[in-house]
């Protein structure tokens, strides 16, 4: 990746803007969550938001709450009384691992399919596969997970559910979770990638490159594949985290999703709040990373406004 000298200044300016934007985004997220806490009819939740230090200070309760957040003080869970952060961090690790696996697996499927669809090669194989994916992605994941458990216990002789919280990465549970999480992701990825790739391949610089006898992919892969893959990974992250709640609940995967599900049943406001903030933080950071890589790979983007 070579960047022209004259492009360094606009790129730096864009990156600074993106950094400020992400900061504003994090502030906005905290305001939304705080507003929900304050307006809660449940007195326990409201206490959490307006808890002030013993000596009355002039700073509003929001800033006090925010200062606690920044220092990692998310309060205590109501069921065990332990720190929320102590429960969140290992769970978040498990979920991120699962999401990373599911995303890589679905991209491994989606990229060849998209290339086939865009270049109109192997249509006989790729079209039926795409249609199958499309249909399977509409099946609700909570049923798909049970069906996967049924098939694997009855026909493949293993039980793909994590037992207990002491996890040693059972590969069968991981494979089932990836299958269930990945089918929807692979469908959207394949569809968006193929439409973007078709658009790029019909552009004039690609035609010129082909006419000169140059390798097509050397010129088109950044705009046609890398940038859309980055965008899909960044924009779908929030949906995948949502889907994780269901998949983890069915397969008993000890991640953030299952934790939130349990906490919401027990009305454990601190824990759910911590999980929402953590997920929003992941998504905002992924957005920042996406924008940074996007601008570095495609310096033209630094000239575009909103």
């Amino acid at each position: 990746m070579r960047i022209k000298r004259s492009a360094i200044r606009p790129i730096a300016r864009t990156l600074a803007k993106e950094l400020a934007f992400t900061f504003a985004l994090l502030v906005g997220i905290s305001v939304v969550v705080y507003a929900m806490l304050v307006t809660a009819p449940n007195s326990h939740s409201a206490d959490l938001a307006t808890a002030r230090p013993a000596e009355q200070t002039a700073t509003p309760a929001y800033f006090h709450w925010l200062a606690g957040l920044v220092q990692g003080d998310l309060g205590n869970t109501s069921r065990s009384g332990g720190l929320v952060a102590d429960e969140l961090i290992p769970a978040a690790g498990h979920t991120l691992f699962l999401i990373a696996c599911a995303m890589s697996a679905s991209l491994l499927v989606a990229v060849p399919l998209a290339v086939c669809a865009a270049t109109k090669r192997f249509n006989g194989l790729s079209r039926p596969l795409l249609i199958t994916l499309y249909l399977s992605s509409a099946l609700p994941s909570f049923w798909l997970a049970y069906a996967a458990i049924f098939v694997s216990t009855h026909y493949l002789d293993y039980f793909p559910v994590v037992d207990g919280t002491n996890i040693d990465w059972p590969i069968t549970a991981l494979a089932t979770a990836i299958l269930v999480l990945g089918s929807g992701l692979a469908t959207t990825a394949a569809r968006e990638l193929s439409s973007e790739l078709t658009r790029v391949l019909s552009q004039e610089y690609v035609t010129a490159a082909v006419a000169k006898g140059a390798c097509l992919w050397r010129h088109a892969y950044v705009e046609g594949l890398l940038l859309p893959i980055l965008e899909i990974a960044a924009t779908r992250l929030s949906h995948v985290i949502g889907a994780c709640v269901i998949v983890e609940q069915v397969l008993n995967w000890p991640g953030l999703g299952r934790l939130v599900w349990q906490a919401a049943q027990e009305r454990d406001t601190h824990l759910v709040m911590g999980a929402v903030l953590a997920c929003a933080l992941f998504v905002a950071l992924a957005h920042l990373l996406h924008r940074t890589l996007h601008v570095l790979m495609n310096p033209r983007a630094s000239h575009m406004g909103y």
Partner: protein
């Protein structure tokens, strides 16, 4: 016959000429017809359950006929673990999401249209503010936000769907912004202004109604599918409609205990209903989008 050509997609960006043929048109028509048919069936089921035109009482347990299979006499779609008629419960289950989901769609269309129009027409700071709002809303996973709201407020299904509607607009707002930004560069916009047509007429009649109608319908269809998915997911997780009131989500949930024993029908039937409904709404959106693009690039 296949022709390759350069077309503009609905956002106004140039996109590649897809090969388009008579077969594809036929498929698009079929997709649209399927979507309309499923929506009609849902409306019918909703009306039937509102007026009580049902084959059985959805809560009436028949303990002699537990887990009757598909095609049993009297119970065409079988019965569940209490011997309740599955067909009846499937029809009544439409009640759980039909009106709330329509409300959610209306809310997200209104917000999306307002933000998209403002951002596309004014640009600059308004565009930045819209971009910020959309990114902010998309940054918080919707299911987690709903679970947080469930923990904090203990809302009913209408309030949950209000949250789904309030967080469902970014897709429409973004597309509308691109589309309007493209349209206001066109000469018809300038000539309408020059000939003294009021700005209100141009914005709402010329831009929104004449040029962006397909976008609204596409978004409404997708948003309806999403709202149904959220309602069923929440009922499945135990936060939406509670047993014994049927919802497709809690039917899958209660049936899944019997799925692992090999009695997979009571949970597969509602799952199939969900899948067919979602496919219908998504197919409708896709087919309608291609149809609108063909209209635009004849």
């Amino acid at each position: 016959m296949r022709t390759r050509y350069v077309e503009r997609n609905l956002d106004g960006a140039q996109s590649a000429g897809q090969s388009f043929s008579q077969t594809r048109r036929w498929w698009d028509t079929a997709g649209i017809a399927f979507g309309v048919l499923v929506f009609f069936v849902l409306t019918l089921a909703f009306t039937a359950s509102q007026f009580g035109w049902l084959p059985y009482d959805p809560d009436q347990a028949d303990l002699d006929l537990i887990l009757a299979p598909l095609g049993s006499p009297g119970h065409i779609l079988g019965t569940d673990f209490f011997g309740r008629d599955l067909a009846t419960r499937l029809i009544v289950g439409v009640n759980a999401y039909f009106l709330p989901a329509l409300g959610a769609v209306a809310v997200s269309l209104t917000i999306g249209a307002t933000l998209g129009l403002a951002a596309g027409f004014r640009g600059g700071p308004v565009g930045l503010a819209t971009h910020y709002t959309c990114t902010l809303v998309e940054a918080i996973p919707r299911l987690l936000l709903v679970l947080f709201a469930v923990t904090v407020y203990q809302p009913d299904i209408y309030h949950i769907m209000l949250i789904i509607g309030l967080t469902g607009f970014p897709g429409l707002a973004t597309r509308l912004r691109l589309r309007i930004r493209h349209l206001r560069e066109q000469s018809f916009f300038e000539s309408a202004l020059a000939s003294g047509v009021s700005l209100q007429t141009i914005l709402f009649k010329h831009l929104l109604w004449h040029h962006c109608r397909p976008l609204f319908l596409i978004h409404a269809s997708q948003a309806m599918g999403e709202a149904i998915l959220f309602e069923t997911s929440l009922s499945y997780l135990g936060f939406g409609v509670q047993e014994p009131t049927p919802s497709w989500g809690n039917m899958v949930q209660t049936g899944s205990d019997y799925l692992l024993q090999g009695n997979f029908w009571p949970s597969t039937l509602p799952a199939a209903a969900i899948a067919i409904t979602l496919i219908a709404f998504y197919l409708f959106a896709d087919a309608f989008e291609r149809r609108a693009q063909d209209r635009q690039n004849p």
